[in-house]
Amino acid sequence: MTVLQLDRVTKKFGDFQALDQVSMELNKGEIYGFIGPNGAGKSTTIRILLGMLKATDGRATIFGKDAWKDAAEIHKRCAYVPGDVYVWPNLTGGEVIDVLLKMNGSYSEKKRDEWVERFQFDPTKKARSYSKGNRQKIALIAAFASEADLFILDEPTSGLDPLMEHTFQQGLREVKEAGKTVLLSSHILSEVEKLCDRVAIIRKGKIIERGTLNDLRHLTRMQMQVETRESPEGLAKLSGVHQLEEERGQFTFQADTDHMEEIIDYLNKYGVRKMESTPPTLEDLFMRHYEERSSEENA
C-alpha cells in the first residue's frame, strides 16, 4: 500500500530549479532512505511533503491526500523531525513538547514521559539554554510520543551523541515493527545502511538512483583481494577488472558484478589460495555516483 507518493514534482524559486521531476513512492511499513549532499533538494522535497512549499508542477500525496491542500489533515497522522530544531526560547523543553503534541489533538502522557526518560532529557530548562542535541531531542520525543503513521525525518541525529543515536535507531526499529512508515533523509550513510529498506539518491534536484541496497550494489563493483599460486598474467586486460594493484603477491582490484563469473573462472586457473570480497558500502556507492556524474559533466 502506498503511503507517500511524489509524482514528477518540480519546484522553481524564481529562475532557480530546486527540484526537477522528483518521483518517489513509500510503501507501508518500510524505512526509505533519502540521501544527497547539502543543497541537493532534500529539505525542499520534505517541505513540499509538509505542505509548506507549493510544488510548481507535479503531485505530492500522503495517505492518498494532497500534501498542499490537506496539510493539516495529513499531519494528524504525521511526525516530523528537522535537522535544525528551532523552538521558542522562553518556554521550557517540557512545555514545548506538550504544545507540539497537543497540536495534533490528544496524546498519551505516559508515552511522552517514557520517551523523555529514554532520551534522558531534562524538560525543566528554558529552551534557549539547550544545546543542538537537546533541541533535537525535543522534536524526537514529540515525534515518537505521537500516534503517527508516517515519520518524516530530516537528518534527525546530526546533534546526538552515540548513545542517543542508538536510542533513536532502537525507536525507529520499534516504529517499523509497529507497521509504520519512515522517510529518513540523512548524511550518515552507515545509519541509512543499517536501517533502510530502500534508498533514493538525489543530486542537483534530480533523483539519480533508487532501489533496494542490493539493487544498487549490483550496479557497482565489489572490492576483491586475491592471492594465487601463480601470478595471474593478463588479469589487468580482463574486462570488468579495475584499479588492479599488486603488493607482495596480493592482488587487489574492483570487479564489476556482472563480470564476476568470468573473473573467477580465470583466476581459478592460477590456483586461488585466498580470496576476499567486500560489498561496497553506501559511502562507496554515493561517492562513485557523484564522481562519475561530475566527470561526465566535465567531459
Binding site: 517541505r47 509538509l50 505542505g51 509548506m52 512549499l53 507549493k54 496539510a71 493539516a72 489533515e73 499531519h75 494528524k76 504525521c78 511526525a79 516530523y80 528537522p82 535544525d84 530544531v85 528551532y86 523552538v87 521558542w88 522562553n90 518556554l91 521550557t92 517540557g94 512545555e95 514545548v96 513538547i97 506538550d98 504544545v99 507540539l100 497537543k102 497540536m103 495534533n104 489533538g105 524538560p123 525543566t124 530548562k125 528554558k126 534557549r128 539554554s129 522534536a139 518524516i152
Partner: protein, 530 residues
C-alpha cells in the same frame, strides 16, 4: 596579580574593535541630541514669564516624580535644561553601559568566547579587566566629547563648570551601571538574565527616587538617580554626587573582580529555578501559545501607556496656565472647545499612535517566527495556515480594542481625582475609542503584507511614522489637506468636539475587514520560508 591579568593588553583592542561601531553611534547620538536640545533652550524660554509658567508646571508632584526636583526657580536657563534632560540622559547612558557590559561579560561567556580565550595562556581576570577598560574608555570619551561640544557652543546660562559637571555626572553614572552589570553577571547564567537584572535595578532606582523626591527624601539618597539632581548643576555645581557615584562603582567593581576570581566558568551564583515539566492547559491552545510568547511585550506596553495617561491626567489641573504661557504649545491647540477638551482630543490622537506600536509588533511576530524557522515545526503538526493566522490575529485585535478602553479608564480616573471639572467618562471613552477602527486598519495592512509581501512586512511601520509626522508637523509645515489625508489617523472623526460620524467608522472597519481577508488569502497560498 600580574599573572591574573596576563593577556589583557591583547584582549583590550580586540574587544574595543568588536563594539566600536555601535558605541560610536551611541556616543554620537547622545552628544548630538544633548547639544541640539541645549541649543534650543534659550529660544524656547526667552523671558522671565515663560520660565515662571514652566516652574508652576514643574512644581506639580507628577512632574517631580517624573523628572526630579527642580531648583532656583530656573533663574539660570541651564537649571531648566538640567531638570528636563539630566535624568533621562543618565538613563540613556546607563542603558548603553548595561547593553555593552552584559555583552562583554555574560554574553561572551555564554557563547563560549571566554572559554576559548581562557584556554590560552591568559590570566583569569584578563577578560574582565579588558572589558572594564573598554567600558571605562567609552565613558571617559563620552565625558570629553560632551563637555567639549557643549562647552564650545557657549550658550547663555550654561557655565563651563556646569557643562563639565553635567558631562561628568552622566559619565560616572554610566560607569556605575556598567560596573553594576558586571556585578550582576555573576549571579545568572544568561546575558538576558544579566540585562534583565540590570534594567530592573535601573527601574527600581527610578521608582525609589520618584517616591523620594515627592515625599520621603531619604529614599532619594539611596538611589543613584536621586544623587544626580543634588549636584544642582549649572547653579551650585556640587561635585560630591560624582564622588558618590565613583566610590560605589569602585566598591561594586571590586566585588565583581573578587567573584570572577572565585566562580567557575559558565556558573551562576543564584540557584537556577527548574521550569515546569508540563505545559498548562492555556499554553496548549494556539492563542494561548501566542499570548504566552508575547506576554512580556504586551504587559510592558500596557503599563507604559497607562502610566503615560496617568501622568498626563495629573497635570490636567495646571493645563490652562501652561498652554497660555507657552506659545510653542499653543500651535497644537487650534480647535473649538475648552483647553482641557482640546488637550484630551490631541492626547488621544497621539496615544492612538503609541497603541499602534504593540498592535503591529504583536502581529508581525508571525513573520518573525517564520524568519526564525519556528513556524516550520508548527505547520508540521496538524495546524492549518488559517488557524495560526487566527491565533496571531486575536491578541492583536484584543490589544487594539482593549488598550483604548483601559487608557480611557486610567486617564479619566486619575484626571477626576485631581481636577474638579474633568470631562465626563463617556466623552473620554469615546475620544479614545474612535481610534479603534484606525488601529484595525493598520492591522489589516500588516495582514496584507504578511500574506503577499512578507519580506517587506516592516513597511507597515511607515503608516505609524507618517501618522506622527502629520500630527506633530502638520501645522508647522502647513501641509496641504491631501497630504494629510494619506495618514490613516486623519480619517478618524474628532470626538467629542464634533458630531460622531458612524459612517466614517464603519467605512474604516469595512476596509480593515477587506484587507484582512485579502491578506489571509495570500498567506494561505504562499510558500512558508521556515
Amino acid at each position: 596579580m600580574r599573572k591574573q591579568i596576563k593577556g589583557t593588553r591583547i584582549l583590550f583592542p580586540i574587544l574595543l574593535r568588536q563594539h566600536r561601531l555601535r558605541l560610536l553611534l551611541w556616543l554620537a547620538g547622545l552628544v548630538l541630541v544633548t547639544c541640539f536640545v541645549a541649543y534650543a533652550y534659550p529660544e524656547m524660554y526667552p523671558d522671565q514669564a515663560s520660565r515662571e509658567a514652566y516652574s508652576i508646571t514643574m512644581e506639580n508632584p507628577a512632574m517631580i516624580a517624573m523628572l526630579g526636583i527642580g531648583y532656583e526657580h530656573y533663574q539660570e536657563i541651564g537649571s531648566l535644561f538640567a531638570l528636563e534632560m539630566l535624568l533621562f540622559s543618565a538613563i540613556a547612558v546607563a542603558v548603553m553601559n548595561i547593553l555593552l557590559m552584559s555583552k562583554l561579560t555574560r554574553d561572551d561567556e555564554e557563547n563560549g568566547i571566554l572559554e576559548l580565550v581562557q584556554s590560552r595562556s591568559v590570566g583569569r581576570l584578563s577578560y574582565l579587566t579588558a572589558s572594564f577598560m573598554v567600558m571605562l574608555s567609552v565613558n571617559i570619551l563620552f565625558v570629553i566629547l560632551l563637555a567639549a561640544a557643549m562647552g564650545s557652543m557657549q550658550i547663555e546660562g550654561f557655565g563651563f563648570t556646569g557643562v563639565v559637571l553635567y558631562s561628568g555626572l552622566l559619565g560616572s553614572f554610566g560607569l556605575l551601571f556598567g560596573t553594576m552589570t558586571a556585578f550582576f553577571a555573576h549571579f545568572v547564567t544568561s546575558s538576558r538574565g544579566t540585562s534583565v537584572l540590570s534594567f530592573a535595578a535601573l527601574f527600581f532606582f527610578y521608582l525609589l527616587r520618584a517616591v523620594g523626591d515627592v515625599n520621603v527624601v531619604f529614599l532619594s539618597w539611596i538611589s543613584p538617580l536621586g544623587w544626580l539632581s543634588r549636584a544642582y548643576v549649572f547653579v551650585e555645581n556640587n561635585v560630591f554626587p560624582i564622588g558618590l557615584l565613583l566610590v560605589s562603582s569602585l566598591g561594586l567593581g571590586t566585588l565583581a573582580f573578587i567573584l570572577q576570581s572565585k566562580r567557575d566558568i559558565g556558573d551562576g551564583l543564584l540557584p537556577e529555578r527548574a521550569g515546569s515539566v508540563h505545559a498548562s492547559a492555556f499554553l496548549k491552545t494556539k492563542v494561548g501559545l501566542v499570548m504566552r510568547l508575547q506576554k512580556t511585550m504586551i504587559f510592558m506596553w500596557t503599563i507604559g501607556i497607562l502610566l503615560l495617561n496617568i501622568v498626563f491626567a495629573l497635570i490636567l489641573g495646571d493645563l490652562e496656565a501652561f498652554f497660555l504661557e507657552n506659545e510653542a504649545m499653543q500651535a497644537f491647540l487650534t480647535g473649538e472647545g475648552s483647553v482641557m477638551e482640546q488637550f484630551i482630543i490631541l492626547l488621544m490622537g497621539i496615544m492612538a499612535l503609541f497603541i499602534t506600536a504593540p498592535v503591529i509588533i504583536s502581529f508581525l511576530r508571525l513573520r518573525g517566527e517564520e524568519k526564525a524557522n519556528r513556524t516550520e515545526l508548527v505547520f508540521s503538526r496538524a495546524v492549518s495556515r488559517m488557524q495560526l493566522l487566527k491565533a496571531y490575529l486575536i491578541p492583536s485585535i484584543l490589544i487594539a480594542v482593549l488598550l483604548p478602553i483601559l487608557q480611557a479608564v486610567a486617564l479619566w480616573s486619575a484626571g477626576a481625582a485631581v481636577s474638579e471639572d474633568m470631562m465626563s467618562f463617556s466623552d473620554v471613552l469615546g475620544a479614545s475609542m474612535v481610534y479603534i477602527p484606525a488601529l484595525l486598519l493598520v492591522l489589516g495592512m500588516a495582514v496584507l503584507f504578511i500574506g503577499w509581501l512578507p519580506r517587506a512586512a516592516s513597511l507597515v511601520w511607515l503608516f505609524l511614522v507618517y501618522g506622527f509626522i502629520v500630527i506633530y508637523l502638520g501645522d508647522i509645515l502647513e501641509l496641504p489637506d491631501w497630504v494629510r489625508s494619506l495618514s490613516i489617523y486623519e480619517h478618524v472623526p474628532v470626538y467629542p468636539s464634533e458630531e460622531l460620524s458612524y459612517a466614517a467608522l464603519l467605512i474604516l472597519c469595512g476596509i480593515s475587514v477587506f484587507l484582512l481577508f485579502i491578506g489571509a488569502m495570500g498567506y494561505k497560498r504562499r510558500d512558508i520560508e521556515g
